[in-house]
C-alpha cells in the first residue's frame, strides 16, 4: 500500500509539471505566433499604402477609386494579422 501511495504522489507530481509545461509553452508560443503573424501583413500594408499614395499623387483625379481599393486591400492583408491575434488569444487564454 505504501508503494501505491508513492506511485500516486509521483503521478501527481508528473501531472502538475505536465500542466505547467503545457501552459508555459502555450504562453510562449502565443507571443511567437502573434509576432510572426505581424511580419507579413506589416510589410504588405506598408507596401500597399505606399503604392496607393504614389498613385494618388500621380493621378489626384483617381484618388477616390484608389482609396476604396486601398481599403479593400488593407482589409484583406490585415486579416492574416488578425487571425494571428485570434490564435494568440486561443493559445494564451484557453
Amino acid at each position: 500500500m505504501s508503494m501505491l501511495a508513492q506511485v500516486t504522489t509521483a503521478a501527481e507530481a508528473v501531472a502538475l509539471t505536465a500542466a505547467d509545461q503545457k501552459s508555459i509553452s502555450a504562453a510562449g508560443y502565443a507571443g511567437l505566433a502573434y509576432g510572426l503573424a505581424t511580419l507579413g501583413p506589416g510589410i504588405g500594408i506598408g507596401y500597399l499604402v505606399g503604392q496607393s499614395v504614389q498613385a494618388m499623387a500621380r493621378q489626384p483625379e483617381a484618388a477616390g477609386m484608389v482609396r476604396t481599393t486601398m481599403f479593400l486591400g488593407i482589409a484583406f492583408t490585415e486579416a492574416l494579422a488578425l487571425i494571428g491575434f485570434v490564435v494568440f488569444i486561443l493559445l494564451k487564454f484557453v
Partner: protein
C-alpha cells in the same frame, strides 16, 4: 496490480488537474472567450434583422425620397440655368451682331461724309484756282497792254527825238516813216534783250 496502479495514477492526475483549476480561481469549466454564445447570437440576429426591416420599409424611404427629390430639383434647376445661359448667349450674339451693323453703318456714313467733303474741297480749290488764273490772265493782259502802250508812246517820242536830232545834225529833213521803222526795229530789238 499494474492495472490498479494505472487507474489510481489516472485518478490522481485528474484530481491534480482539478486542484490546478481551482488554484487558478476558475472552478467552472473553462469557457472559450473566442467562440460565440447562443444568447448573444440570438439577440444580435433579432436586433439586426429588426433594424434591416425597419430600414427597408420605414427609415430609409423617408430619407432617400427627400434626397432624390432634392437631386431632381437640383437637376431641373441646373437644366433651367443651362437654358437661361444658352438664351443669354444667343441674346449676346444678337446684340453683338446689331452692334457690329451699327458700327459698320457709322463707318460708312463717316466715309461718305469724308468723300463728300473731299469733293467739295476739291471743287472749291478748283474754283479758286480758276479765279486766280483768270485774275492773273487779266493782270497779264493789262500789263501787256500797258507795256504796248508805253512802248508805242516811247517809240513815237524816241522817233521824234531821234529824227529831230538827226535833222539837226544833217541839216535836212529825213523820211519820217523810214526812220520811224528803224527806231521801232531798234526798240523792239532792244526790248527783246
Amino acid at each position: 496490480m499494474l492495472a490498479s496502479i494505472l487507474v489510481l495514477a489516472a485518478e490522481a492526475s485528474t484530481t491534480a488537474a482539478e486542484l490546478l483549476d481551482q488554484a487558478a480561481g476558475d472552478a467552472e469549466a473553462v469557457k472559450n472567450p473566442i467562440l460565440p454564445t447562443v444568447n448573444e447570437m440570438l439577440y444580435a440576429a433579432i436586433f439586426f434583422i429588426a433594424l434591416w426591416t425597419l430600414m427597408k420599409f420605414v427609415l430609409l424611404p423617408r430619407i432617400t425620397s427627400v434626397m432624390d427629390g432634392r437631386t431632381d430639383k437640383i437637376r431641373d434647376d441646373l437644366a433651367a440655368a443651362e437654358a437661361a445661359e444658352t438664351e443669354r448667349v444667343a441674346k449676346l450674339a444678337q446684340y453683338e451682331a446689331g452692334l457690329a451693323g451699327a458700327r459698320a453703318e457709322a463707318v460708312s456714313i463717316i466715309e461718305a461724309t469724308r468723300a463728300e467733303g473731299d469733293a467739295e474741297r476739291r471743287m472749291q480749290i478748283t474754283a479758286a484756282e480758276a479765279e486766280v488764273a483768270a485774275a492773273r490772265a487779266e493782270a497779264a493782259a493789262e500789263i501787256a497792254d500797258a507795256k504796248a502802250r508805253a512802248r508805242s508812246e516811247l517809240t513815237g517820242s524816241i522817233t521824234d527825238i531821234a529824227v529831230g536830232a538827226a535833222e539837226a545834225v544833217i541839216q535836212k529833213p529825213l523820211d519820217r516813216a523810214a526812220q520811224s521803222r528803224i527806231v521801232e526795229d531798234y526798240v523792239n530789238s532792244s526790248g527783246k534783250n
